[in-house]
Symmetry: C2
Subunit: 339 residues, 2 copies
Amino acid sequence: MKLRALGEFGLIEQIRQKVVDPASVYRGIGDDAAELSLPDGHRLLTSTDMLIEGVHFRFEWTDSHSLGRKAVAVNLSDLAAMGGTPSFLYLSLACPVDVDFTEVEAFFEGALAEMATFQVTLVGGDTCRSPGPWVISVTVEGHVSPGDSVGRLQARPGDVILVSGTLGDSALALNHLKSHLPVDPYLLQRHLRPLPRIALGQALGAQHLASAMIDISDGLSADLGHLLMPAGLDALLDAAQIPLSSAFRDVVRDQPDFFELALHGGEDYELLFTATPENVPAVMALSDSLNVPVSAIGKLEKGSGQIKLRQTTGRIDPVLARGYDHFGPSQKTPEGRNA
Amino acid sequence: MKLRALGEFGLIEQIRQKVVDPASVYRGIGDDAAELSLPDGHRLLTSTDMLIEGVHFRFEWTDSHSLGRKAVAVNLSDLAAMGGTPSFLYLSLACPVDVDFTEVEAFFEGALAEMATFQVTLVGGDTCRSPGPWVISVTVEGHVSPGDSVGRLQARPGDVILVSGTLGDSALALNHLKSHLPVDPYLLQRHLRPLPRIALGQALGAQHLASAMIDISDGLSADLGHLLMPAGLDALLDAAQIPLSSAFRDVVRDQPDFFELALHGGEDYELLFTATPENVPAVMALSDSLNVPVSAIGKLEKGSGQIKLRQTTGRIDPVLARGYDHFGPSQKTPEGRNA
């Protein structure tokens, strides 16, 4: 069935039927606004993302279900990077009227499946036609105890730089997709199904183990830059410690240039955070208990936002942050990256 | 200066410099998520809207500053329709990279001016390039005391139907814009600068005077339909009581067909609500004290979602709700309407 036949209110009703409201939702889908309660004494955390076909994604490289999952996951990742607990989500979708309903349904089912994984409830959104590209806007609301959130500005000289998971997998998959090369299934899954590190972020915040935290959406160098510049810090990274998956290593063994993707690639959606050296053992204990790999990849020094990399040869080279800038001169083609 | 030269982070910094955070904002623009507090014991109200160039607006008919104001105003109107107080706002914008910064700045200045009118703070959003149309996504967060919010489902047979302001002005202006006819300045202002009825909505909620409430975005008949259908009600409207501005009357005097725009036109952003007959005097006293016109336009009966109109001749005709459906067959050209 085409969306034209189902109609806007038919679509909304289809979505509403898939959602069960918890007790904290006084009014959910279908009113002018959602009415919600937070746990007593908690603060509200909110993040919003926009994703546009041809800029952030291409249907050539993703199916609708994966797109729905990823649209939610990258938004939840922002709350993870604050140490927060996501609760409520608003999903707005604009698409052409001649899209088949099965595509839209798969998109919403993917989004709802991702929400269910993290006990997040869909409580609102907007639906409209688009004159061209699919446009998705996602807003997530969650909560955090006062004092437990982790910002970007409190890193200090001497702090250790840590990162969850492995880097570069998603960018390598995208590189192969763009080049019409076969893509390793593990790398493809890392690109299509990022895993928001909610439990790790929550624990780091609640135990006050991280001095600063951000999720890696634009790439290690760019997102590390966001922690360095405002705090007057430099970073010294150790190339040997950058965590790489075995699938990534297999490729880099033959083509060493691809190592750059672990530094600059983007869309890892891993947590990049800093901790005092005294807190590192507690971080590693947390990593073990949550079964989320965490690697210490360098340390912070007083400075002016520079990143240096100690090569495996021992030589130290400057790293130029190659941030993804949506309006900058570097972007020419869809990159599949999220601002 | 082109956006390409300013860059994404330059743009965000320009916006951030225009914002002053109140004490309830612990983290605002520039982190992964905003961290906020609500007044003790209040519930969170959230609404989100997406606006797309060519679907919801055309630069042929609006300037960037007015667009910014309106994008915010229509979103605040949703909170007014719940009886809520808006506090925080997230503004996401996608536009082509070759747009001049002055256009984007005017858009944000318009948005911020509208926010300032209602003591609403910009705390987040997203910026990215668009492959074609401007895309705007706005999310507002506010609060309401438990039990004071007004939904859509509690209207009862015998309740009086009331509406703020006048109807049809915006649709008439849009009609003239589309037809390349001169537009009366008052009507044009009603189209470009809708006034969210925050104070009226708050008072109706706090004093428990309204049984159901919605803001008119799709047109009186369509939005009244949203109150009738789920509650098993019919509406009998009185044509003589539909509130019309003198500018609107001037046009209708010569072209009576345009009266239809007061019934179906859309984008009025007035509050449509219901009240028991006993509460109507208190509503009218509120209208006087707030200096917001309110008109009683009909009453509710048991039924199945039908709307009937008592003509000035006394004859009663059925009114077919002509809702704006984004995916429905009726839409062919940009209507300037908001879902």
